[in-house]
Amino acid sequence: MDNKVLNIKNGSCVKVSEIPVLSYDCFRATTLELMSDKARHCSSYFAYPCAEGLRLMMCIADDTAHDIKVFACDVNKGDSLVSAAKDCLALERYEREIHENWGLEFEEHPWYKPVRDFMPGKYKFFEMEGEELHEVGVGPVHAGVIEPGHFRFICNGEDVLHLEIQLGWQHRGVEHLMLSKKRTIERVLLAEGIAGDTSVSHSTAFAGVWEALCGIQPDKSVLWARTLAAELERMANHTGDLGAICGDVAYQLGAAVYGRLRTPIVNFSQRWCGNRLGKGNVRPAYAPYAFTEELRQQLLSDLKAYERDFLEMSDKIQHFPGVLSRLDRTGIVTTEQAESIGAVGMAAKCAGVCRDTRASHPYGVYGTMDIKPVVKDTGDVLARTELRIDEVKQSLAIVRTLLEDMPAFNTQVRPMGEPMADCFAISLTEGWRGEICHCAVTDADGELAAYKIKDPSFHNWMALALAVRGNEISDFPICNKSFNLSYCGHDL
């Protein structure tokens, strides 16, 4: 095994030549063997053109060994390979993506449906026969101001038997743009726009990759600022989601209070870096906005006011029968399901699978902290609601710890140099939805040959499809909101 995989740490850069290149049979066998351990999951699996053919690159994160196992395989364009997904469900979307992007065929793939390249009319949705069954199609245009996605339910009366989710309407070609745009500032702006609500974590992942490729170790203050911004982002989004969950069960008090509580957090971000979503706050190699003593006092007083109301409201919804009856035992993801589909982040943590990059593959200043991931075991909407409440409490503690030890800032642009040639770099971050993975490969001239982005939504949409089975169709919106997955993060 040791000579078949390369073990690297999060945020590191290696020469492409060091990565073992296996034959496809060996590649597939190694993948399946590694994936059989529940502590491992596939962080990224992609193909890129290399010499005459294509190179498949597999990155499997190991949570107990705290490293990432990387190995590759060279194949020819148009090859027909034996699917690994038929034995390991977690890979099914990666294989469909590779098939869609590069035309490789995967034999015996369980469900060859389009990932993003969806043409209405050409693709035949999954069908079930039955006198008493009916189909309900929702979207891609939705009633609320949300992103486009098509949901097709097969129902027996009010009960959902099957949900098929078809995404791809938000496909902007971010990965392609990453290669065609040559300036670092263009690329970091692209990274911020992958999913607007996760801009800090995505740009941190990009910065991690870029710094690794250029061989730069950023100052502690830079890492400190990124960690603080990421935790603020987590708090703001979790609070907004709690409000939206209350809104979906028509609990006006919760919706009003949480909606108001999100505002001081995002407003603080505006005060710090000029953008409520933290755009512009993360740049490779340096921190553009200093965190001053004045900001520190402001944040401490904001958090004090926030915490009092947040705790009171959270205590209320955790003990209010009307809300609990809607959340409890709704939209259950079992531990087996979460493990089999390779769920990450909240979708995994709510079902008893402890997957938190901050603890298992620390980056930024998380390595110096003792992060205990919040894990719930019931897998229902209530678990995801309580998970958010507990993660906000955890983030409050992390932010306060950070504020005790404030580093000195230097906001001067630091020269980066050029990325090293023939290198592979990987960076994992824990966005508020879960693990984000950015990978980059450079060619002999130091130009990007491949840039692969993976948003947690990529794995977790399947968790939603499984969670609503057997539930009432009227509970779908609350299930959907409890995951709050990203459409554009998936579609790229």
Partner: protein, 301 residues
């Protein structure tokens, strides 16, 4: 005639008051009390859009729906002053006039061929069906108590009789208020504010209606609220003079709207499969009222 005019006046304010109470409870500034009326005025000035799959049923449904509720309003008396339509057994006519409107609303929704509207129609039909026994049982117990079978004579006779009639009036007021919420698809059965088609009941049935048609449906909703609150007011008014009756009438309308508003602010809606139990509980309470009256009047044992 008095009751019709009073119902029309209070219908103008009813939904506005609910909205105001909700916005005050949420700490928002909120729209003015007349906003629902302005919305309707705006809709009535617009044209309607019809999908290609709809037929004539869809076009007449909103008008029939409104007409049925107006006819039902005509049956509502003001204390001992009969409504424009009054005869023995008029409350049966009242209930089925409303049912006719609902029937048209449902087939209008089915006419669109949309899977959403089909779901909404099936939900609305189920809940209306479950709500019907509650209305008849409580009216039956009032009839049994007073020995009359028309709205006007029941309400005229209800008051002076006994403390028992007060108890019955409280139960009836409770049931009419919840019926008004169920029939108007308000919380906790349905959430009128939601944008999520899959959880809607009444709102999803009218998704395809626009312009004038939608305006008529809104007006029908206002009237229905005022009509049920008028029935509650009648339980109090009885045979007291009109001069006192009118303030009592408006007070009851106002209190009903405030109660609905507060309820919507501080509760969550039910899970869909709990709704039938909830609505059926009303019928059970009404049944207890019937037994109570029978016991008291010695007709049971």
């Amino acid at each position: 005639m008095t009751s019709l005019i009073l119902i029309l006046i209070s219908a103008l304010f009813f939904n506005g008051i609910i909205g105001r109470v909700k916005s005050i409870c949420a700490g928002r500034k909120g729209p003015g009390i007349m906003q629902p009326v302005f919305d309707v005025a705006r809709l009535l000035r617009k044209g309607s859009v019809y999908s290609e799959t709809t037929g004539p049923v869809f076009k007449i449904a909103p008008a029939v729906y409104l007409a049925s509720v107006i006819v039902a309003c005509l049956c509502v008396p003001f204390g001992n002053k009969a409504g424009l339509i009054s005869f023995n057994g008029d409350f049966v006519f009242f209930a089925y006039a409303l049912a006719l409107g609902k029937f048209f609303c449902i087939i209008g929704a089915l006419d669109t061929g949309s899977s959403f509207e089909g779901m909404g129609a099936s939900r609305e039909a189920t809940y209306s069906m479950l709500a019907e026994p509650a209305f008849f049982l409580i009216m039956g117990s009032l009839a049994l108590m007073t020995g009359h079978t028309s709205f006007e004579s029941i309400f005229a006779d209800l008051h002076p009789s006994s403390p028992m009639s007060w108890a019955l009036a409280v139960i009836a007021a409770f049931i009419f208020l919840i019926l008004a919420m169920v029939e108007n698809s308000r919380m906790p059965v349905d959430d009128p504010k939601t944008h999520l088609e899959l959880t809607m009941i009444h709102e999803v049935m009218v998704l395809d209606n626009s312009g004038v048609d939608l305006g008529l449906i809104f007006v029908t909703g206002f009237l229905k609220f005022a009509m049920y609150a008028a029935l509650i007011a009648n339980l109090l008014i009885g045979s007291i003079p009109v001069g006192f009756g009118i303030p009592v009438f408006f007070a009851v309308q106002f209190v009903s709207a405030v109660i609905i508003g507060i309820n919507e602010s501080f509760t969550a809606r039910f899970r869909m499969n709990h709704n039938p139990q909830f609505i059926f509980t009303l019928a059970c309470i009404a049944l207890l009222a019937v037994f109570g009256v029978m016991l008291m009047s010695g007709q049971l044992i």
